[in-house]
Symmetry: C2
Subunit: 297 residues, 2 copies
DNA sequence: AATGTTTGATTGAATTTTCCTATCGGTGAT
DNA sequence: ATCACCGATAGGAAAATTCAATCAAACATT
């Protein structure tokens, strides 16, 4: 039963029988039969199929809700008992929004000092993807904005507040100012994240208020790309203060506070709402709670 | 996996491999093998066995905690989908403390009017047994004291407050009074519940304060026994006002308020803390919430 | 101390379930 | 019209589950 529910979760992730089967380590007929068996024991159609996967039925969505919880709890049970035997081991899968990627190190490093046998998988994702992945049990924890999208069934631990800086070089336009305003920023050619990123949407909103049209000279879904471009001294970007500091400022590379509407957004750790938490998640939350005060501005 | 966890729950209830197997509808070797397989996949001993069942290991208790939740959720899933298909059907298993048994009818009757296809199983249990049965998924809901024992992981809906009355007949000692005090009650030969019942322990406490020794003339774990004795006109008892009224007073059979310390205890519905609740449980809770105001004194 | 009973583990065979390979039928795209 | 893709189906091999029968140990009774 549990493996069948696992099949269903994989299908929800992949929306494709073949690929879902692959991620489950079984063949496609096996997964098909598993779903079919679920449908038979429950007595309802769960998946609308044409010649391919179309969608879940309302009942399917309902079963998915339970499956997320049940499969999650079974994994938690395994992890829990494992922790009793061998201390904290295993792998923590964490997804973070691009602007938070650099700060993950300040969470993982002290964690590793405390629990040396835990391995990490760190993924860059959009804020929406983070929440979806959390739902689908693809990741154990996420780092994302806490105050924009509705978060769903998660626990959130605030970590820091994002304040925006114009990242540019001395000698460039605005490069020698001590503060700038959003209307001024709107006049500069910028390197920005792609529009599927919430950070970009936030910046869009701020720039739009100035009435100016936004014409980013360069878009990427990777902060490394943006930063390395700015570093050449020929480009400018907007990024959170914490991130700019972490990546490293130089004498010519400056992060200039953007004042006018000094909008801030809280970024924090989100973990599945589960009582009790898995040992790994609990340890990560504890670490985040230790870290948060040191990040306050 | 889920059936194995079910085996473990049955073992926790019965503390006996053979009987646990029977309640699961399998033979004893099957259940033994199931437990053993659980132990192997988790890599820990779950049960301390001598030549017979001794106890659960600490890890076993931990697994039990998860098993309760997981098995409960799987059942909730089944029930949930079933309700989507056929409306509310199935069986609600409710256990109540003896003094509350009579009022269950005022919960089940309007419930049945709304949901005619739901069957009931009603059990008389001590307050401790109610909570245990709730933990072990033997029952779907309980009716018990809310303000004495620690309740554990349950949701509670207060129903009414128990006030105590001396149930006796005109002509008997104290039989013609309008109120009596606990010290006076202590002087009368009484029919009381057995000491494993919390109601009895509450009454014991109240009587003890008077300094008098308690020598109940008759003990039973059934309120019907107590009531039918009092009804002969030759005995007396102490019971909650609601119960006495429900069972029916006559001209000679009187329920006399006991004043001195007018202690009250809240009785309510307790259901497993599960989000979302099973459809049956949710409907029962809704009914309880409708009923509660009408019971207020 | 001897005996009988109770209890859970073990064994071996029959059954059921699960899973894979190979293939089919249908749909949508080129 | 053809091709590529997707999910369902069929059949057979492997694995698992289950049960009846039996065993060994511990406990209770005499």
């Amino acid at each position: 039963m549990i493996d069948k529910l696992d099949f269903l979760l994989a299908l929800a992730r992949e929306r494709h029988f073949g690929r879902a089967a692959e991620t489950c380590g079984v063949t496609q007929p096996t997964l098909s039969a598993g779903i079919k068996q679920l449908e038979e024991t429950l007595g309802v159609l769960l998946v609308n199929r044409g010649s391919r996967f179309r969608s879940f039925t309302p009942e399917g969505e309902r079963v998915l809700d339970w499956a997320r919880r049940i499969v999650g709890d079974v994994r938690a049970l395994r992890e829990d008992i494992n922790a009793l035997r061998h201390g904290l081991t295993g792998r923590l899968r964490i997804a973070a929004i691009p602007t938070a990627l650099a700060m993950v190190a300040s969470l993982t490093t002290p964690f590793r000092a405390r629990h040396p046998n835990v391995q990490f998988t760190l993924l860059s994702r959009t804020s929406i993807e983070v929440l979806n992945a959390l739902d689908n049990l693809e990741i154990d924890a996420g780092i994302t904005y806490l105050d924009n999208e509705p978060l769903g069934r998660v626990n959130a631990i605030p970590l820091y507040r994002e304040r925006y800086r114009l990242l540019t070089s001395t000698g460039s336009p605005l490069g020698d100012r001590t503060t700038v305003t959003w209307p001024e920023v709107a006049q500069v050619p910028l390197c920005l994240l792609t529009p599927d990123m919430q950070n970009r949407r936030i910046i869009n909103r701020l720039l739009n208020r100035t009435g100016a049209e936004i014409r980013p000279m360069l878009e990427s879904n990777s902060m490394i790309v943006l930063f390395s471009h700015v570093r050449t001294g020929k480009w400018a970007s907007v990024m959170p203060a914490k991130l700019a500091e972490t990546l490293g400022l130089t004498q010519t590379l400056r992060a200039i506070p953007i004042v006018d509407p000094d909008e801030v957004h809280t970024v924090g750790l989100v973990v599945p709402q589960r009582e009790p938490m898995t040992p790994l998640t609990a340890a990560l939350v504890a670490e985040a709670q230790r870290l948060a005060p040191t990040l306050a501005d």
